[in-house]
């Protein structure tokens, strides 16, 4: 298992993608599976930074853990931020609380389209944990 602590700055999302990509590459994914995994992690880490921590930009951390059970790869993205007020609403395509930042409201839609399983655990005032599972299937 890999555990990475990322300071909640938008420029650090690229680093989270690099680590997630390196981790899944060991399991010989297709190019498409690699891109999907990397994109879903990018969405979740971005959400933690700009929503969980309201884009405050320093002193807060997002935790990314990566683990594998056979060819089932799991990424957990954990923040101790504000939590999601209404999870069902947040999952709706095009729903965003930050339209002024040109957020598309498609983060969860992308995660759900690209991953085998997405779990959201959130408590107001305590934080959010997103669990992303990618089943790679038989090796190509």
């Amino acid at each position: 298992m890999i555990k990475l602590e990322i300071e909640a700055l938008p420029e650090n999302v690229a680093m989270a993608r690099v680590v997630a990509s390196s981790f899944i590459t060991k399991f010989d994914p297709t190019v498409e599976q690699l891109t999907e995994f990397k994109t879903a992690v990018s969405e979740a880490v971005t959400n933690a930074i700009i929503h969980g921590y309201s884009d405050k930009r320093s002193g807060e951390f997002v935790t990314l853990t990566l683990s594998a059970k056979g060819r089932e790869i799991t990424a957990k993205i954990i923040d101790n931020g504000v939590g999601i007020e209404d999870v069902e609403a947040a999952k709706e395509p095009l729903f965003t609380t930050k339209p002024e930042m040109e957020r598309s409201g498609l983060g969860f839609t992308v995660m759900e389209s690209f991953m085998s399983k997405v779990e959201i655990n959130s408590k107001k005032g305590e934080g959010t944990t997103i669990t992303l599972v990618k089943e790679l299937g038989e090796q190509q």
Partner: protein
């Protein structure tokens, strides 16, 4: 990012990854060039985009609105398979026009490819 002007068309080609952080930078550069110019239309040439997440979709919608507000149009060109997939999930395929390459996009917007 490369920005070129062809008549009334601003052609912007972001390079590298488009995530939330980079999208803010591209947005500022494109809008500033667009406002300084007398362009009506925008082409986003995606040839050199190596990665994009939904932040890129937000950036595209924003530029679409920008062009529309002045009576212009936005066209996307040279989209990779990965970018196309994201574009299709977003539902943007119904409202934003696409071209295989930038020449085709210029023709679609009524520009002259020899300019």
């Amino acid at each position: 990012m490369n920005i070129k002007i062809n008549g009334k068309i601003l052609i912007a080609a972001p390079t590298g990854e488009i995530d939330h952080h980079a999208a803010e930078r591209f947005r500022a550069q494109i809008d500033s060039a667009f406002e300084k110019s007398s362009c009506r239309h925008i082409i986003l040439d995606m040839k050199d985009v190596t990665f994009m997440d939904s932040s890129g979709i937000g950036m595209i919608i924003g530029r679409y609105k920008k062009a529309e507000s002045g009576g212009g149009k936005l066209t996307l060109s040279n989209m990779s398979e990965a970018v196309t997939k994201l574009f299709n999930i977003s539902g943007l395929a119904k409202i934003i026009s696409r071209a295989e390459n930038t020449q085709e996009a210029i023709i679609k917007l009524g520009g002259n490819i020899n300019d």
